[in-house]
Symmetry: C2
Subunit: 346 residues, 2 copies
């Protein structure tokens, strides 16, 4: 275990001052280009690496962005993170990633850790059961910018990045109606989360516009666990009449449901058409392939990171921006295509 090389060691070897070494290493313009070259090569030779703690301590900036997500294990989330990483890297920011595992409690702990790690900013997608943003207040008070994405709560001092979930929910439902569905079930998550609340609103709007009565029995809240599927199908079978379409706000759960529906003797989409949400790769595995709403995780990640970083660099203030809305599209596959001859407009 060798001793760490410091700028003092380099300065000594070269008979110059540590200040010059520091400047050279940071590419300060006022340093002679030749001295700079000599210093840099010497640094490499001596295996120097900058001590970011000393640097951070001095500069009072960490160049670190915290990311808190409910779970890492979805295709969507991993593409979001890839997008964030790309942008952060390019701007020489580091990412600290933590998962709340869908629990506010863990989310609070994560926030605390981030706070103590002195992140320059925070990117957050909320846990399943987060009810308010109180646990973010300490950061907000300190002026640390927070940007929520996908699963958001509005806060006057924070920006949100989302898709138009209401419109997407509307389109998904409307598509089912166009396919001839008259009795559409809606399976979704905790309505405190904007994504689920807005999709429900869209669902209701589509029904209303098509003069289909809204029926509470047809809306079910779930935690999207595999275990809950059989119960859900039991429930569905007891409905009278049985639904002829389902809009499920999670592709994995939708896939599970399709499998269970078929096992229960229903044919999809003939008896029951299904539309999911997120365009997870599983949509192309389940049979029939799953119709779904696609939105681009990578883009969401990039936009989120970019906005935060430009705010940090004071190139752009996100304080005035309340929300950034990204695109989505309805992908029609076989799970929802009842009318095989009639082309569905997407």
């Amino acid at each position: 275990m060798e001793k760490e090389t410091t700028i003092y060691d380099i300065a000594e070897q070269l008979n110059i001052s540590p200040a010059t070494v520091s400047r050279a290493l940071n590419d300060h313009p006022a340093i002679n280009i030749d001295t700079k070259k000599i210093i840099i090569s010497k640094a490499k030779e001596m295996g120097y690496r900058t001590n970011i703690f000393a640097s951070n301590l001095r500069r009072k900036k960490t160049n670190t962005i915290g990311v808190i997500v409910p779970r890492l294990n979805s295709y969507f989330m991993s593409t979001v993170l890839a997008g964030m990483e790309k942008v952060a890297n390019e701007a020489s920011y580091n990412l600290i990633i933590a998962q709340s595992l869908e629990s506010v409690k863990k989310e609070m702990a994560n926030v605390k850790t981030m706070f103590n790690s002195r992140v320059d900013g925070l990117l957050v997608s909320l846990a399943y059961d987060t009810e308010n943003l109180d646990h973010f207040e300490p950061l907000i008070k300190k002026g640390i910018p927070i940007l929520f994405f996908d699963r958001v709560l509005t806060h006057k001092k924070c920006t949100s990045i989302v898709i138009d979930n209401l419109k997407a929910g509307y389109e998904a439902t409307n598509h089912l109606i166009e396919q001839g569905c008259k009795r559409i079930m809606h399976i979704t998550g905790n309505l405190q989360r904007n994504v689920y609340q807005d999709r429900l609103k869209g669902y209701r709007l589509a029904l209303a516009e098509n003069n289909i009565a809204y029926c509470e029995d047809l809306v079910r809240i779930t935690d999207f666990s595999y275990q809950s599927v059989s119960e859900m199908i039991q429930y569905l079978k007891m409905l009278n009449p049985i639904p002829d379409g389902i809009f499920i706000t999670n592709d994995f759960y939708a896939a599970y449901c399709i499998v269970a529906l078929k096992q229960a003797g229903f044919s999809v989409p003939e008896d029951i058409a299904v539309v999911g949400f997120n365009d997870d790769p599983i949509a192309m595995v389940v049979e029939p392939h799953l119709s779904t709403i696609r939105y681009h995780g990578q883009e969401m990640g990039e936009v989120a990171a970019k906005s935060l970083i430009s705010h940090l660099n004071e190139q752009l203030s996100i304080k005035d921006t309340n929300a950034i809305i990204l695109h989505y599209e309805l992908i029609v596959r076989k799970s929802s295509l009842k009318a095989k001859t009639i082309g569905a407009k997407s």
Copy 2:
């Protein structure tokens, strides 16, 4: 934006020395319990948060562990990370997570970042095309412990955490043979990765023990991309005779293949039986449900983090431990059950 409270501020308010404040905040045993209480409550009152940069600078320890994985988007990986996080949290270590996106180049960059972030230790699962461990040498030279998990390369100074991939490959193949398969294809990844190399060895061993000739044409390397599936099925169709079983070392790819096989007119498992690897949730979505090898990601993550941390705390030296082998099990589902009446032993 308020000014940060320091231990000096607290000391001043309380008319005591900063050293006492520091000790109290770090729960030093030699501090009077009452003083401790007073200090802690004052700290809270003043909104104090410790400056980890000053602390790290002083202590020359970061309490941070770096984690580099190929991708975050698998069920397996996210459970591994959950396990690591749990253990790290309990030991008050932080995690910095980065994905190499299966590229050595990115992996090298990640390693460099980790190095400069002065992680106390590193947990790594290698990228698809990593050929050697040269890029880890700077860390190894500095005495920073590195622990490889799942996708590993052996290094005399590093420990590996794996399952017995050879035996697992053997069991998977043997299971197909027991089901009556005589011509078993093997679809797998880059053979430089131990996991794929060992599983292939197991495959060959099972064939040999059952007097089935090994045939190179039946072993295909893939990057597991969705795009490559149709080509793979094309290839399979041109084999003569056509295989009656496939052992695929990735559940997602196996699921894609099953779908494609059915589309091509084969029935699974009757014409072609399939066994996958990893027990991803998708195994329960694809029809027929996928037989697979299950190993517990959470456990692997916990063991990895625990070993590293106890090494860091010098409670246990992992230097002498070359490898830690974890359990796995063969899960038999319908995708491989040709002989429906004969129970398969697992």
